[in-house]
Amino acid sequence: MKKISILIATICLSAGILTSCKNDTSKKTGEVTEHKQNEKGHGEHGDHKGPPPHGEKGDHKGPPRGGSPEQTRTLEEIGGYKIGDVAEDFSLKNVDGSMVSLASYKDAKGYIVTFTCNGCPFSVLYEDRLIALNNTYAPKGYPVIAINGNNHENEKESYEAMQKRSEEKGFTFPYLVDEGQKVYPKFGAVRTPHIFLLDSDLKVQYIGTIDDNAKSPENVKVKYVEDAIAALEKGEKPNPNFTKAIGCPIK
């Protein structure tokens, strides 16, 4: 009798292993302090069914799929520059008190216009990478120009707080106040950090994120901005020229 039960257990176990997911090495549940991405797509999904197949993904102008979606403020409605538009120059106050405009850069081959802020963790995560970008590309003709589009009445985003942050981190690029919040809506910046790469004619060539991993620079696989600059240097169009990222809303 005992043998039978062991036999049943063995059969079930091996059957179980055979039907289990590939690569599923971690079976631990409950409290685990170490983070691992395990096998996907199962668990307590209840009555949920799988998503519809993805057709034309990556096209941000494409119509939304499924159901009858309604969005209160679509990307289209938010407006701002699209790829190929010519950006309007601005003149904004830098943390050192000087006024900076794109025209101030006589020999620029392009501009890495970056909407960022003091308080957003995603902006903070990218500060070192922004400094590195400027240090590498400003001498090559592509300076970083950072703009804080947030409401500066907010203590964390005030001019004084910006000056402090710039000094603490040793920003090697201008950090400009968007006084009256007039410039960021023109660009259509919606989150921080949000990059607009312009060419020497101020034509928008790339819109999006710096790279594909905000949280850990060491795990970055694609450096979108650097790739876009490399494309411009070769006289080509950046591909992709539009990426999305999670970021803090500009407010």
């Binding site: 009798m1 005992k2 062991i6 049943i8 257990a9 079930c12 176990l13 179980g16 039907t19 289990s20 599923d24 971690s26 079976k27 549940t29 409950g30 409290e31 685990v32 983070h35 691992k36 991405q37 395990n38 996907k40 797509g41 199962h42 668990g43 307590e44 999904h45 949920h48 069914k49 799988g50 519809p52 993904k57 096209d59 494409g62 939304p64 499924g66 159901g67 009858s68 979606p69 309604e70 969005q71 209160t72 403020r73 938010i78 963790p121 994120t209 594909d212 991993n213 905000a214 949280k215 850990s216 696989k221 990426t243 999305k244 990222a245 999670i246 970021g247 803090c248 809303p249 407010k251």
Partner: protein, 177 residues
């Protein structure tokens, strides 16, 4: 005594079988399987592939899925409205998808939820290459949060904005669902 051991062995075997057979989706065994997702302090950590099936339903039940983070001020402001709505409407399923950092779960996220009496289900989405999945949620989403999807099997509504108050949220649901 022996038969008791036998029974236990069989139960154990059956349980193991259920645990290992993870490819069976939407079956009655779902309730007994354990999610393979890592959890830290009751907060499961999902990547987008884990999350995606939760964004759809084949029933007429209403779901509210809210993408938020503690570091996002407008998200934090609207969270109580969503919780209030959930409290008043137990038939509506609410899922709060936190974009916070894994390291903050125990030290910040859990105390934050407790302090604000947020009892709706919270999961943490940790999938760094957001450009690869934002369009799959909704091509019109810029990536800024808060972002909310309200849906059932017939209707889907996307909100790239925060709800101004409980009434605002109620109105969206009563007029659309």
């Amino acid at each position: 005594m022996i038969s008791l051991i036998n029974k236990n062995a069989i139960y154990l075997a059956i349980l193991l079988c259920l645990c290992f057979s993870c490819k069976e989706k939407n079956s009655a065994t779902n309730k007994t399987t354990t999610p393979s997702v890592t959890t830290i302090g009751d907060i499961p950590i999902y990547d987008f592939n884990d999350l995606e099936p939760l964004l759809y339903t084949n029933t007429n039940k209403t779901y509210i899925i809210n993408f938020w983070a503690m570091w996002c001020a407008p998200c934090v402001k609207e969270l109580p409205y969503i919780q209030e709505y959930a409290d008043k409407n137990p038939d509506v399923e609410v899922l709060l998808v936190s974009m916070d950092f894994i390291k903050d779960i125990d030290t910040k996220l859990k105390p934050f939820l407790k302090e604000r009496n947020i009892t709706s289900k919270v999961i943490l989405l940790d999938d760094p290459d957001a450009n690869s999945w934002i369009d799959k949620v909704n091509p019109d989403w810029s990536g800024a949060i808060p972002f909310t999807i309200i849906f059932n099997n017939k209707t889907r509504k996307f909100y790239e904005r925060s709800f101004e108050n409980l009434k605002d949220l109620e109105k969206q649901i009563t007029t659309n669902f």
